[in-house]
């Protein structure tokens, strides 16, 4: 069974930092899903934990180096045993589910050679709310409650 122990933004931040330290070429990394919401919370100094912990970080990358690192953290890996969550690579086509202008609202950070792109909390929630999954709805309420959203969803 996959572990479900991803509950605070520090875990996401630390993973991104570890990836940035390991690469030798410029790379793009975009996060979606609950892990990205957690990152936004951490970035704003909000220590709130997800109401139901997540099992994975969902990254997209154009970098062979980053993809290789992600493969080391797939489900059932030693990485998962050590960290309590796994890495679930997603294809760039998934961004078609986001509003067309999501990049205009995204937060972009350069961490060494790694260019990190985080869609806004509102845009992260758009595909989640289409699924009507109870956990996704809880995460949307959590994001609203802790002040990650600029407008009502």
């Amino acid at each position: 069974m996959p572990r479900r122990e991803l509950k605070n933004g520090r875990q996401v931040h630390d993973w991104i930092t570890a990836v940035a330290r390991r690469i030798s070429q410029p790379a793009n990394l975009t996060l979606i899903g609950s892990a990205a919401l957690l990152w936004h919370a951490h970035d704003r100094g909000i220590a709130a934990e997800l109401p139901e912990a997540s099992m994975d970080i969902d990254p997209l990358t154009d970098s062979d180096e980053v993809a290789r690192i992600c493969f080391e953290g797939l489900i059932g890996s030693e990485f998962e045993k050590d960290h309590g969550f796994h890495i679930n690579l997603m294809p760039d086509a998934v961004l078609n589910e986001f509003p067309l202008d999501w990049q205009q609202r995204a937060v972009v950070r350069q961490i060494g050679l790694l260019k990190l792109t985080m869609p806004s909390a509102e845009d992260l929630l758009a595909p989640k709310l289409k699924r009507h999954d109870p956990r996704d709805i809880k995460h949307a309420e959590w994001a609203k409650d802790i002040g990650l959203l600029r407008q009502k969803t």
Binding site: A67, F71, S77, K81, L89, M90, P91, A93, R131
Partner: protein, 93 residues
């Protein structure tokens, strides 16, 4: 929540990143060792589908529609073959 060729994103990820890393002999060998490992539950099935799976992993990004058309002429589809790309999981990768 699927691609233009009707493949769920989660499934399509195996093709997307498989293609990206298949060009590296070391990574290709690592995948093949994993997929043919007796501990992998789909090892036998992979043996059956290996030529088709290897062919789509060797194909360039952007060739999905063309591949799908060609596969459909043989009674298959890109969706069917992508499903046969074994997952990577466990501590034996």
């Amino acid at each position: 929540m699927m691609t233009s060729t009707g493949i769920l994103y989660q499934e399509y990820s195996k093709l997307h990143y498989g293609r990206m890393l298949w060009k590296y002999p070391d990574f290709r060998q690592r995948l093949l060792r994993h997929w043919t490992d007796p501990r992998h539950p789909h090892a036998d099935r992979f043996k059956e589908w290996r030529p088709e799976v290897e062919r789509i992993l060797e194909s360039p990004k952007g060739s999905d529609e063309e591949l799908d058309r060609e596969l459909r002429q043989r009674g298959l589809s890109l969706r069917v073959v992508v499903k046969e790309i074994p997952s990577v999981f466990g501590d034996f990768f």
